[in-house]
């Protein structure tokens, strides 16, 4: 099977660029340039140097012995939480800021939900001395105050999105509208493998450093570059796309995509897009999304602000539809318990998003001889308030 994007920007029936004409020139410029720029020697050397010296890559692959013993298998953690800014998001923003510079752009816009991508974007804009505007839902600004402060400290302007449900999807709409109004000098750094082609492919390529490093690290530690399974959480799906990328055609490697079930799939408060979604268009991409019978996009729910996106990247929609990837659904409670377990057994406090990936270990059976990689996409500092309130209310 082939899981690469085709020349029209589709993964099977998913993907494409369903954009208003006002964005055509911007998207066409990106589409015609992104591979040329990304494959140039100049870009590659800058990108690799920044990932090494600024982000701190390669991120370690760590054999989590106590978790392995508990689950009676071999669990390796891909430590994206140790990257600068605390998550995988920086891999993509480093790549896109270099691309923006190569395109001669002087103004950067981004959307953010929990604020991780906003912080990663504000960081690279500070690094390059470029103007940075981050759109963030008015409700998210209230509930993610520490990340708003970080963005401001880094010099970004945080603009509240007051439209619609005032969360990530509306911040994305506002960023798209900004781009419509500023088509020439502005580059839009999308934070996940979503949006119109070429974004899903471009972001997946920038994040693919995760699985590229895994191949040599696994070879060194296990004698084989392939694990038996890779587990990653999926909101839009950027860390999962990066962790799966070099194994898409290695069909003996199980790809396990973990979605947020929120309070439960049938409760009406969920973000389990692969189960609750249907085919449609969101943010310029044909994919699976949560919508009413009349085609209005539904606001999803998860305790994790990074997983409550009503769609899923078109690559993941294709992987799940073709059964190349398995989708697992984890509730808020299950994720919280796994966060505590990982903290207490491995001394690592994972992000709430990542905690969903850990919780999937309770739902999938592995053999004692299996090598399982969990993509530890981010650290949990930003979630401490939630953890203390929900897990340790009396301490």
């Amino acid at each position: 099977m082939n899981f690469e994007v085709d020349n029209r920007g589709f993964y099977g029936e998913f993907g494409g660029a369903f954009i208003p004409e006002m964005l055509h020139a911007n998207i066409e410029e990106l589409r015609s340039q992104y591979l040329l720029i990304m494959e140039s020697a100049d870009f590659k050397s800058k990108f690799q140097a920044l990932l090494r010296d600024y982000v701190g890559r390669p991120s370690p692959l760590y054999l989590a012995e106590r978790l392995s013993e508990h689950y009676r298998t071999n669990i390796y953690l891909k430590r994206e939480d140790l990257n600068h800014t605390g998550a995988h998001k920086i891999n993509n923003t480093i790549g896109q800021i270099l691309l923006a510079q190569a395109l001669g752009k002087t103004r950067i816009i981004a959307e953010t939900g929990a604020g991780q991508h906003g912080v990663a974007t504000a960081t690279v804009c500070a690094l390059m001395g470029l103007e940075c505007i981050v759109y963030m839902g008015a409700i998210d600004i209230e509930r993610q105050a520490p990340n708003v402060a970080r963005m401001k400290m880094l010099g970004a302007k945080v603009v509240p999105a007051h439209s619609g449900s005032k969360t990530l999807k509306d911040a994305t709409n506002e960023a798209i509208r900004d781009w419509i109004g500023n088509p020439v000098e502005t580059h839009y750094i999308i934070g996940s493998v979503v949006g119109p082609h070429p974004y899903p492919d471009m972001v997946a390529r920038f994040q693919s450093v995760i699985s590229l490093e895994m191949t040599s690290q696994l070879m060194e530690k296990t004698g084989s570059s392939n694990p038996n399974a890779i587990v990653a959480c999926v909101g839009g799906g950027s860390n999962a796309a990066g962790a799966f990328y070099h194994y898409l055609d290695a069909t003996d490697v199980r790809l396990i995509a973990v979605e947020a079930a929120g309070r439960g799939i049938d409760t009406g408060e969920s973000a389990a897009t692969s189960v609750l979604g249907s085919k449609g268009i969101i943010h310029g991409s044909r994919t699976l999304l949560m919508q009413t019978e009349d085609g209005q996009i539904i606001e999803p729910y998860s305790i994790s602000a990074g997983l409550d996106y009503p769609g899923i990247g078109p690559l993941h929609a294709h992987l799940i539809e073709t059964k190349r990837a398995e989708a697992i659904h984890i509730t808020d409670q299950e994720a919280l318990q796994s966060a505590l377990q990982v903290a207490r057994m491995e001394g690592i406090i994972p992000a709430l998003e990542t905690a969903h990936a850990f919780a999937a270990l309770n739902k999938v059976k592995f053999k004692a001889s299996d090598n399982v990689v969990v993509c530890l996409s981010g650290r949990g500092d930003k979630d401490l308030n939630t953890y203390i309130k929900k897990l340790l209310p009396n301490e």
Partner: protein, 260 residues
């Protein structure tokens, strides 16, 4: 003949098209607005199908859409409303909406329902030309529904020619790099762009929209096209209060084009 083609055959200048959001201010206002607009001299009407995530639209249209969705407006309700008063309205009726709702309804079912309701054309800002040609053009032809594509100041000449060749009815000339309702007034640069398009001598008529808000901007736009479209300014003028809806519509229309 499609009513849109008949209009452009019969009238070459100063065509006034009004956009309104269906289901706003109240769910059942659609037919009142249609009848009043016709009596007040509109030539063409664009009925906006309210959508949760209208990425090409500004705050006025999005907010009116949110109200309309809360009021209970759906695709099926909209078609039923148009159908119920179509016989009283002679103007061409265009439905403007986003592709996701059409996909959910099923594109063929959508076109069939549109035809049955007496709709003459669609504007679908997020339907790309290549997808239209490969997946939908035959269906539009089968049901005789026109589709107007948009062009902007960034659209290349070659692409404008292509859009001219695939659009049916008219071409929607977006006046500036902007979302709907974003700006007031028309700049020299915009006039230069209107002239550039005018001089291309396209096969299809052109209506200019986005940022057309009053008599002055309407008449400026009309000097370089067959007509213009007013949306956000109209929606603002009718407001959220349904009292005297017809009177306020008439007053707005008189301000754009005084009664003869």
């Amino acid at each position: 003949m499609n009513r849109i083609d008949a209009l452009f055959q019969q009238k070459k200048k100063e065509i006034l098209s009004i956009y309104f959001t269906a289901g706003y201010p109240k769910l059942e206002d659609t037919c009142t607005i249609l009848r009043t607009l016709q009596a007040a001299g509109a030539d063409l009407v664009e009925v906006g199908m309210p959508y949760s995530d209208p990425m090409a639209d500004g705050p006025t249209i999005q907010e009116s859409g949110s109200v309309a969705i809360k009021n209970g407006m759906t695709v099926a309700t909209l078609f039923a409303q148009i159908r119920s008063c179509r016989a009283e309205v002679e103007m061409p009726i265009i439905v403007m909406g986003y592709l996701n709702q059409m996909m959910q309804f099923g594109m063929e079912a959508f076109l069939r329902s549109a035809k049955e309701a007496g709709v003459d054309g669609l504007i679908v800002p997020d339907l790309p030309a290549d997808v239209f040609e490969q997946e939908y053009r035959d269906l539009f032809n089968t049901y005789g529904i026109h589709l107007s594509f948009l062009i902007t100041p960034q659209t290349s000449e070659a692409r404008i020619r292509h859009i001219d060749s695939i659009s049916t009815g008219f071409i929607y000339v977006v006046s500036d790099a902007s979302i709907t309702g974003a700006k007031a007034g028309i700049s020299e640069a915009q006039i230069a762009y209107f002239k550039r398009i005018e001089e291309m001598e396209l096969g299809k008529p052109r209506l200019i929209g986005f940022g057309i808000s009053n008599a002055a901007t309407f008449h400026t736009a009309c000097q370089h096209s067959q007509g213009a479209i007013i949306g956000s300014a109209f929606i603002k003028s009718i407001g959220a209060d349904e009292r005297d809806l017809a009177a306020r519509i008439t007053q707005f229309m008189d301000g754009i084009r005084p009664p003869v």
